[in-house]
């Protein structure tokens, strides 16, 4: 049996296992979560009403947006600085920059958060050193607050911010930069008026990826925030496991997905998926 019919059957047979797996193990339970958000504890829109009126939920949403915005600015700026050297540096500089980007990228989020605890806690490296030099007499509070969360999240997200920037910088025509320099423009001026504007799509992609990732971040804020700087993801966890309020946890999840979906739609209007890797 040859021809279009057997082709369609072959495709269906090969593609079916994964599609079935994800329908049963992902799509169906997601609909279950959506159902929770409308039915627990009582049927109706009560949970969504609570989202709009509850002071605690509101303050967590605002804090999450604020932290995500700060982390985005910090990560994209830092990523830009190291990507310039990774893409345009001498061969040795490139290898070193790649090492500094890829090693943290492959190390687990827990190890990295733990490294920051070891550095920033009251008896950590930084406080021990500052005290032994006599700079300070009391340890500085660097962790279990928003500062620690921002530092840890930026550290996690810099490698992710690097990839769209690198792809934008690689596709940039070097002759344009040399022309600007040849016409007498200074290094600084060439960078700000030629290089940066020409990598705009990379900056937008990098910022949106970082922002979207920050919104749903769980592990780093939970460890470095020490329960004092709760973000949306940790609030969902607390609603489901501590207060048990599954309905509210589910409703926050649904809102988060819708919000992230809208941001992604925005992302793909400005950047082609190919430019992100």
């Amino acid at each position: 049996m040859r021809g279009p019919l057997s082709d369609r059957m072959g495709a269906a047979l090969l593609m079916a296992p994964l599609l079935l797996f994800l329908i049963l193990a992902y799509a169906w339970p997601f609909l279950g979560v959506v159902k929770w958000s409308f039915t627990l504890p009582t049927p109706g829109l009560g949970q969504y009403h609570a989202l709009l009126t509850d002071d605690l939920v509101q303050s967590v949403f605002i804090r999450t947006l604020r932290i995500a915005a700060i982390v985005t600015v910090v990560s994209v700026t830092a990523a830009y600085a190291i990507t310039v050297v990774w893409v345009r540096g001498s061969p040795v500089q490139r290898v070193l920059a790649e090492f500094c980007i890829l090693v943290p990228f492959w190390i687990s989020v827990l190890t990295r958060a733990f490294g920051w605890v070891a550095l920033l806690s009251n008896r950590g490296l930084i406080n021990t050193w500052l005290q032994s030099v006599g700079f300070i007499s009391e340890p500085l509070t660097l962790v279990r607050n928003e500062f620690g969360v921002i530092v840890g999240m930026s550290h996690f997200l810099i490698p992710f911010a690097v990839f769209p920037l690198a792809s934008a910088m690689r596709s940039l025509d070097e002759r344009v930069l040399l022309a600007a320099r040849g016409l007498g423009s200074s290094r600084m001026r060439t960078f700000w008026t030629v290089f940066v504007p020409m990598t705009r799509s990379g900056i937008i992609g990098s910022a949106l990826i970082t922002f979207v990732f920050s919104l749903g971040f769980f592990v780093t804020p939970a460890i470095l925030g020490g329960g004092r700087s709760v973000m949306i993801a940790e609030l969902i966890y607390l609603r489901i496991f501590q207060s048990p309020d599954w309905g509210l946890g589910a409703a926050i999840s649904v809102v988060l997905v819708v919000f992230v979906g809208a941001l992604m739609a925005l992302l793909f209007r400005y950047v082609k998926p190919k430019q992100l890797v």
Binding site: L18, A25, Y26, F30, V33, L110
Partner: protein, 268 residues
């Protein structure tokens, strides 16, 4: 030919960022050598007791074995599912391919915490039916990890398929090869590297998965990251520092080997 190189200011800024990126990884080394039972900097003498406790404390060993088992099972499952799906897409180019691939990539795009709530819903619903497979069982965790890693495996295999010359498949087809023969004897040998990479990445992602695991385990299925999490949240155990140092060394070694291999492939 002149080239456009970063100037001194760019280099200085890049060095600062590089230091920021490496600092927390270096900081765990002195902490892991402290003789104290608390998380402190060693003052004077050094000790390897926290490295010893990784081997001697059965909790660490048990969780390492559990994470290995879950990683291997979930990696096999997601690689097989990703491979059959990608072969279907590449060989038959069905209609709605973009939508189907988009659907498969969802667990990669949706915020992990939402996937975690979703898988929590799934496994608690299944738990009512069987105790062998569901909330807080190792099989349940392995399956949940497969959901999370299968998009990554699919992307890797689709990428290596896209670099394959379609004409070799057309030739096999013209010579009368069946779908099975084309897949196993023509296409798969040519994307070996991609399949192995997909399996390895799935394993690594499962090995270090924590966001979803936290939602779907409580006391029985304590994976290594889950145990680290417990040690980090309550009383910080310096054994975590020792474990972190070992994990960092493994990562650096693997990356070094990989860069040597890629350079050799490039040189040929």
């Amino acid at each position: 030919m002149p080239t456009y190189r970063p100037g001194p200011v760019s280099l200085l800024l890049a060095v600062l960022v590089a230091l920021f990126l490496l600092m927390p990884l270096l900081a765990v080394i002195p902490v892991s050598l402290t003789p104290s039972r608390m998380l402190t900097m060693p003052t004077g003498e050094l000790s390897l007791r926290h490295y010893r406790s990784l081997i001697e404390d059965p909790r660490w060993l048990d969780s390492i074995l559990l994470s290995l088992r879950i990683g291997i099972v979930s990696s096999i499952l997601s690689t097989v599912l990703a491979l059959t799906f990608s072969l279907g897409v590449w060989m038959f180019q069905p209609r709605f391919t973009a939508a189907l691939v988009g659907f498969v990539l969802l667990p990669m795009v949706v915020p992990p915490v939402v996937s975690a709530v979703t898988l929590y819903f799934l496994l608690t619903s299944v738990s009512g039916v069987t105790s062998f497979f569901g909330y807080d069982t190792w099989l349940g965790v392995a399956m949940a990890h497969s959901v999370m890693t299968v998009p990554f495996a699919t992307v890797l295999i689709l990428v290596s398929l896209s670099q394959l010359d379609r004409r070799i498949d057309l030739a096999a087809r013209g010579l009368g090869a069946s779908v099975w023969e084309r897949a196993t004897r023509v296409i798969m040998p040519n994307i070996k590297f991609g399949i192995v990479t997909a399996a390895l990445l799935s394993f690594v992602l499962s090995w270090e998965e924590i966001g979803v695991t936290l939602f779907i385990t409580s006391v029985n299925a304590i994976t290594l990251p889950r145990l680290m999490w417990m040690g980090l949240r309550d009383n910080i155990d310096p054994a975590i520092a020792a474990l972190s140092v070992i994990l960092i060394i493994i990562t650096v070694l693997v990356l070094a080997v990989r860069s040597v291999i890629t350079r050799q492939r490039g040189a040929r």
